[in-house]
Symmetry: C2
Subunit: 337 residues, 2 copies
């Protein structure tokens, strides 16, 4: 059993209930023969849901947990008090080294807090960034930090650059990933105090392929593989990306429905448009990893379906197989301690 890649799925946190987690888990172990999955949540419900499938019973295990952490409660308080929540029970499996990776569609705040307080940072890691793959007109770019750390020091951004590089190289297969630092211009003299200081550290960092500043207007064109930002700026970017794409597509849909002529036109462009929009669909790119912990914690969308669970399982497999956690820690032991 020790040879399995052991992945925990929190089945309570998401908007769509446990059914999609179970479906994703069953599909996930079919695709990945070396995976074992722990489902944390209501035992009786999970038993009932699992009974609908044929699967290798040695490779899916239920771990009972009855409490739920809602979006409305203080994440830190919830994680500290709700010891029997599916989130905390799941994260404890990582902490106790009974599992390697954890996937949840629950409250981002609770996942971040749980990652920090239950699992804990790996040795040498100053802060643990939340990373997201952004769709672009080229290949997806990894943006980090997307909101876990809003006030940081330049050294922290330097570590984020390294973690992001390792992730893109080992999990996404991008060779020598181009790292860029989000800024208000590309000229040397541009930027706030944090960015200017981080730029100096990044230029000297021999473990990464640093290409300099990136303006946000260039981000959608995939000009960098890893985009480094503090959690405030990264959060603004990821949420604006999401909100603006949705708004533009909604407005266009409204335009298509505004006349008979355009309705007919919309039918004709439907299939080619779908292909384009698929590019902007995050669900097949796996979840958002919280990097730098003693184990992998992956946040998937609250409204995820089994597709995103399966992608996240694949992502965890790559992460564990490529020993990303160890590579991150080694990097920091070499450089900073």
């Amino acid at each position: 059993m020790g040879d399995y890649i052991r992945i925990v799925i929190d089945t309570i946190g998401g908007d769509n209930g446990a059914a999609f987690c179970v479906k994703g888990a069953v599909e996930g172990i079919k695709r990945n023969q070396d995976v074992k999955i722990f489902l944390t949540g209501h035992e009786s419900e999970l038993e009932r849901l699992l009974s609908e499938y044929e699967y290798d019973k040695n490779r899916i295990e239920i771990v009972n947990a009855t409490e739920e952490i809602s979006l409305n409660e203080s994440p830190v308080k919830a994680v500290r008090e709700k010891k029997d929540s599916s989130l905390v029970v799941g994260l404890n499996l990582i902490k106790e080294e009974k599992a390697d990776a954890f996937i949840s569609a629950g409250s981002t705040g609770a996942i971040l807090a749980g990652g920090q307080f239950v699992v804990g940072r790996a040795k040498g890691v100053k802060r643990t960034p939340l990373a997201h793959l952004l769709p672009t007109s080229a290949k997806p770019s990894l943006l980090l930090d997307c909101g876990a750390n809003v006030d940081v020091k330049p050294e922290v951004l330097n570590q984020f650059a390294e973690m992001g590089s390792i992730y893109m190289e080992c999990v996404c297969g991008v060779k020598n990933p181009r790292v860029a630092l989000a800024n208000v211009g590309t000229e040397e003299e541009k930027g706030n105090a944090l960015v200017k200081a981080a730029n100096e550290l990044l230029k000297e960092n021999k473990d990464i392929n640093y290409t300099g500043y990136i303006e946000s207007r260039a981000i959608p064109y995939g000009k960098a593989d890893v985009i480094v930002a503090d959690g405030f700026v990264g959060n603004v970017i990821i949420k604006l990306y999401e909100g603006l794409s949705k708004m533009i597509l909604k407005e266009l849909k409204g335009a298509f429905l505004s006349s008979f002529k355009s309705k007919v036109g919309a039918m004709l462009i439907k299939s080619s448009m779908k292909k384009t929009l698929k590019k902007f669909d995050a669900s097949d790119k796996g979840g958002a990893p919280l990097l730098g912990l003693k184990g992998l914690v992956v946040k998937i969308h609250g409204n995820s379906k089994e597709g995103e669970v399966i992608s996240a399982i694949d992502q965890c497999v790559s992460f564990v197989k490529n020993d990303v956690s160890r590579k991150i820690v080694e990097g920091f032991e070499d450089n900073n301690e």
Copy 2:
């Protein structure tokens, strides 16, 4: 002559040459009978261009200026050294109170530097923000600061909120504008140190209609009339807005051209789509004002045509007629000094 609203147009800085400035100026004085325009730039060229039009010769005056400030030079150095540039000559007209407002399609950096060093801040104003109207699915929102001040204190954001409110109320006719502070979440405990401290000041500010935090994903839906951010975050927002809209539309265009069927479909949706895209066109919303100076300085796009010049003239007229500069200064004398 003292009763005219006197507007300077810098005819050298833009990408499209002086012709569109001249055309805009001629149209602008036709639309606004109480406007007089100063064109700064190459005298002989401007004379030649003007000779093509019939117009009230008392209301357009050429002010010769021969130097050009390019995008590649240091803005501060250029503004200090190039005394005979169309930008500096124009800004000096404001400084000497020979004109009320200044419009330029030149380098943003040079306009910001010139605003600060040549025109100067109005009394009581701590920092002068660059404000942009963002297109949304509802009415446009004013975002400030879009990049003039990347490291600021909470009191500065509080002033930006007041300036933005006065601008939206007096120039854009929005009654009791809803002010929001850009943040990573809407809950009280969210945010970095700057935003949390600014939030306290904004809550206590009785001169504005403060509605709390706004997440970037809500910005495209027009949930606030005035969005306050430091110049770093504001710049990231405005440029991502621009880059992402362009990229999505480009990708869709590519999708439309991918098959014969979709090409036919695209023809049928063309007119209704155009109407929608018009909403996202900044050119009819005037330029970006640099607020808090002793006079109005407006930055228009580098690739502006006469349409944007005319909108900017209209904008300057509203600004001067409504005495916005005085209202801004009065606000700060009351509150802060």
